[in-house]
C-alpha cells in the first residue's frame, strides 16, 4: 500500500495554489474560446471603430456653401481671415447657379452665395436643417459686416477675443469611448460569470470542487481576478484606439481613475452574471437571460447614446443601473478633467449594487442540477 499522504500543507498555501490553478484554468479556457474572445474583445472594438468613424464629424456643425460666380466679399478677404472662415465653412465654387441651387434644395449644400446688383450679397438657403440654416446666415452676415467695416477704413471699435476654457462640446469619441467600454466590460463580466457557473454546474465541476479540500473563497477570488484582467485588457485596447490621432480622444489628468472604477463595475456586472447563471440551467438559457438584461441596461445606461436628453423618468430608471455609474464617471475622468470625488460615489454605488445582487443570487444558487 502506497501510504496515503499525511503531510497536509498549510491551509494558506493550499488556498494560494487553488487560486493560482483556477485562475490559470479560466484564463486558458478563455484564451482558447474563440467565441468568448470575439464577443468580449473584438466586437466592442468593432463597435468603437464603426461608431467612431460614423460620428467623426458629428457635433461640429460644419457648413457647406456654394459660391456662384465671383462674390467680392469672399474673394477679397485677407488670407488669414479666409483661413479662419474655412474652419467653419467649406466654400466650393460653382459657375452654374441652377446646379448649385439644386444641391441646396437636396440638402447637399447648406447655402448658396452670389453677387447681386449694387453690392448686394445674395444668400439662398434651405430650412431643412434649422441649426445649419441659422449658422449659414450668421456666418455670411458676419463676413459681410466685416467687409463693410473694412471698407469704412476705420479700426473696429469693439472686438471679440474668444478663448476656449474646456472642451465641453463633448465630441463623439468622448462619449463613445466610456460608453462602449462600459458595454465591453459588462459583456465580459456578465457572460464570463454566468457561463462559467452554468458550465461548471452542468459538467459537475462544481461538485468536484466541493469534494476537494478547496476554499470556495479562493474559487470566487479567482473568477473575480480573471474578469478584472479581461476588463483591464479591454480598457487598454479602447484607450489605445481612442487616443489615436484619427479619433483624437484627449485624456485628462486623472484618467487612471478609470481603473479602480472598472474594477468596481466588473464586480457589479459579475453579480448580474451570478444571478443569471444561478437561475439558468443551460448555457443557452444563460446567454439569453444575460442578453435580455445587458442590452437594455446598455441603452438606458448611456453606453451607446448619451441619455442627457432622454425623458426624466428614463433618467431615473438609469440611476438604478450600474452601467450609468460606470459610463458617466468614466466620461468624467477620461476626458473632462474629473477627479477622485467624481468616481468615489459611483464606486460605492457599484459595490452596493454588487452586494445586493450577490445576496439575491445566493438564494437561487445550487451546486447541482436538480
Amino acid at each position: 500500500m502506497s501510504a496515503p499522504s499525511t503531510n497536509t500543507p498549510s491551509i494558506e498555501k493550499e488556498r494560494v495554489s487553488t487560486f493560482v490553478s483556477i485562475t490559470r484554468v479560466m484564463l486558458t479556457g478563455f484564451m482558447r474560446d474563440r467565441t468568448a474572445l470575439f464577443f468580449t474583445l473584438a466586437m466592442p472594438l468593432i463597435f468603437l471603430l464603426l461608431f467612431g468613424v460614423l460620428t467623426k464629424n458629428a457635433g461640429t456643425s460644419h457648413v457647406k456653401i456654394a459660391e456662384v460666380g465671383q462674390v467680392a466679399v469672399l474673394d477679397s478677404m485677407p488670407g488669414d481671415s479666409r483661413t479662419e472662415l474655412e474652419k467653419a465653412v467649406t466654400i466650393t465654387k460653382y459657375d452654374d447657379e441652377s446646379v448649385a441651387l439644386q444641391k441646396v434644395k437636396k440638402g447637399d449644400l447648406d447655402g448658396l452665395v452670389e453677387q447681386g446688383p449694387n453690392g448686394q450679397v445674395v444668400l439662398r438657403f434651405s430650412m431643412s436643417d434649422q441649426v445649419k440654416a441659422g449658422a449659414v446666415q450668421t456666418i455670411v452676415n458676419s463676413v459681410v459686416q466685416q467687409a463693410n467695416q473694412a471698407a469704412s477704413g476705420q479700426q473696429p471699435k469693439f472686438t471679440l477675443a474668444p478663448s476656449q476654457v474646456e472642451d465641453n462640446s463633448l465630441k463623439a469619441i468622448q462619449y463613445l469611448t466610456p460608453g462602449l467600454l462600459g458595454y465591453a466590460v459588462a459583456t465580459g463580466a456578465v457572460f464570463g460569470t454566468s457561463l462559467t457557473l452554468v458550465n461548471w454546474r452542468k459538467r459537475r465541476v462544481l461538485r468536484r470542487l466541493r469534494l476537494a479540500p478547496v476554499s470556495i473563497g479562493s474559487v470566487v477570488a479567482a473568477r473575480v481576478a480573471v474578469s478584472v484582467v479581461v476588463a483591464f485588457v479591454q480598457t487598454a485596447i479602447f484607450l489605445v484606439v481612442a487616443t489615436m490621432p484619427f479619433f483624437g480622444l484627449k485624456l485628462t489628468g486623472n484618467w487612471w481613475l478609470v481603473l479602480p472604477l472598472v474594477v468596481c463595475a466588473t464586480i457589479a456586472f459579475m453579480s448580474i452574471g451570478f444571478l443569471t447563471g444561478a437561475i439558468a440551467k443551460t448555457e443557452e438559457a444563460a446567454s439569453g437571460i444575460s442578453q435580455i438584461i445587458l442590452l437594455p441596461m446598455s441603452f438606458l445606461g448611456g453606453a451607446f447614446i448619451p441619455i442627457d436628453n432622454a425623458p426624466h423618468w428614463l433618467q431615473t430608471v438609469s440611476r438604478a443601473l450600474p452601467m450609468r455609474y460606470l459610463v458617466t464617471s468614466a466620461q468624467s475622468v477620461l476626458s473632462k478633467g474629473g477627479g477622485v470625488m467624481d468616481v468615489l460615489p459611483a464606486m460605492g454605488g457599484l459595490l452596493a449594487f454588487a452586494a445586493l445582487f450577490t445576496a439575491i443570487s445566493w438564494r437561487f444558487f445550487s451546486w447541482d442540477d436538480a
Binding site: 501510504a3 496515503p4 498555501k13 479556457g29 459537475r204 466541493r210 469534494l211 476537494a212
Partner: protein, 305 residues
C-alpha cells in the same frame, strides 16, 4: 480496525419519491464493494449521501470514522470520487486537467503526470479532454480521483460505454488500486463486472438493500439449475433421456435444436458421467447461474425507467 464505511438507516425523500428508504451498509477497510440495482433503485442517491454531497433526511454515516456531512475538510483529502466522464474544465488538455485537480490537494505536477502515465494516457497528455474517446475520458476521470492517493475511492459506473478491450484494461487498473490497500466502492450495471471485481455486492431496489454478500455465495444461494450442452449428433434426444433416467439424474429440461443438445439439471454429476461414457463430450459447455440470475430474481424482470 474501523470499517471504511458504516451507514445505518439512511433515508432520503424527494417530494413524493422515497429515493433511499433505510439503507444500512458496512464496507470493511480494503474491501472492493459493489452497489448493484436497476435504474431508479436509489444507487446514485445512496452514493451521493455516502460521499457527503447530499444530506440524508435520516440516518447515521461514518466514513473513515468521520461524518461526511456537513462538508468536512479533514475527510476530503482521504477520499477520491470518480465522476462520469465529462466532469472536466472546458478547453483543457488531459495533463492540464489532472494537474489542476491535483493542485487542489497540494499534489505537485510530477505526481499528477505519473498518475496519467499509470492509466495509460501519457501519449494523450496534450489532447483536449473534449476530444478524448470515452475510454480515455473514463481513465482520466479515474486518474483525477486517485491523484491525491486517497484511502477510500468511489467509482460511479466507470466502464459504461467502453469497448471490451478498454473494459478489461480498466478492470486491471481497478484491481490494482484495490490491491494497494484502498477501499473501493463501485456502482455498475454490468453484473459480470461486479462478479469479477467485487469482494461483496449489495443489490438495491426501491431504495432498499435487498441482499449483501460475496457474489459466489449469492449465486449459490439461489439454487438454480445448471445447463450442460454438447454438440448435436453425438447422442439422440430419446436415447439421452433414457440414459439420464437410468443414471438417476433429475432432468428439468432436455432438447436438441440441431446445433446443441442441451440439458438443464440440478445434478450435473450423473449427466456428465453419462455423456463421458457415451463419448459425447465434443463441444461441452457447463453454465451455472450467474450474478445476473441473482439480480433478476431479486429485482424482477419488468422494465425500469
Amino acid at each position: 480496525m474501523t470499517a471504511a464505511i458504516s451507514a445505518d438507516g439512511i433515508r432520503k425523500r424527494y417530494g413524493d419519491v422515497q429515493a433511499v428508504d433505510g439503507v444500512s451498509l458496512t464496507v470493511e477497510t480494503g474491501e472492493f464493494h459493489g452497489i448493484l440495482g436497476p435504474n431508479g433503485a436509489g444507487k446514485t442517491t445512496t452514493l451521493e449521501i455516502l460521499e457527503g454531497i447530499r444530506e440524508p433526511d435520516e440516518g447515521r454515516i461514518e466514513l473513515l470514522g468521520m461524518a461526511p456531512w456537513p462538508r468536512n475538510a479533514k475527510l476530503l483529502p482521504r477520499i477520491g470520487v470518480q465522476f462520469q466522464a465529462s466532469a472536466f474544465f472546458v478547453k483543457l488538455t488531459a495533463r492540464e486537467t489532472i494537474r489542476t485537480f491535483a493542485s487542489f490537494y497540494g499534489v505537485g505536477p510530477k505526481r499528477a503526470d505519473a498518475m496519467l502515465e499509470r492509466v495509460g494516457l501519457a501519449d494523450s497528455a496534450s489532447v483536449l479532454t473534449d476530444k478524448m474517446s470515452g475510454g480515455q475520458a473514463q481513465r482520466l476521470s479515474i486518474a483525477c480521483a486517485l491523484a491525491h492517493d486517497p484511502e477510500l475511492v468511489f467509482l460511479d459506473e466507470p466502464t459504461t460505454g467502453l469497448d471490451p478491450q478498454a473494459r478489461r484494461n480498466l478492470w486491471d487498473l481497478l484491481r490494482d488500486i484495490n490491491a494497494e490497500g484502498r477501499t473501493v466502492v463501485l456502482t455498475t450495471h454490468y453484473l459480470d463486472e461486479a462478479e469479477v471485481l467485487c469482494d461483496r455486492v449489495s443489490v438495491m431496489d426501491h431504495g432498499k438493500v435487498l441482499k449483501t454478500g460475496a457474489p459466489a455465495a449469492l449465486v449459490r444461494e439461489i439454487d438454480d439449475t445448471v445447463r450442460v450442452s454438447v454438440e448435436s449428433g453425438q447422442l439422440g434426444v430419446e436415447a439421452a433421456r433414457e440414459l439420464f433416467a437410468a443414471a438417476g439424474a433429475e432432468i428439468a429440461n432436455l432438447d436438441d435444436n440441431g446445433v446443441s443438445l442441451a440439458v438443464s439439471t440440478r445434478g450435473p454429476g450423473p449427466v456428465l458421467s453419462v455423456l463421458a461414457e457415451q463419448n459425447a463430450l465434443r463441444g461441452l459447455e457447463v453454465r451455472g447461474a450467474t450474478l445476473e440470475d441473482v439480480f433478476l430474481q431479486l429485482t424482477g424482470r419488468e422494465y425500469r425507467a
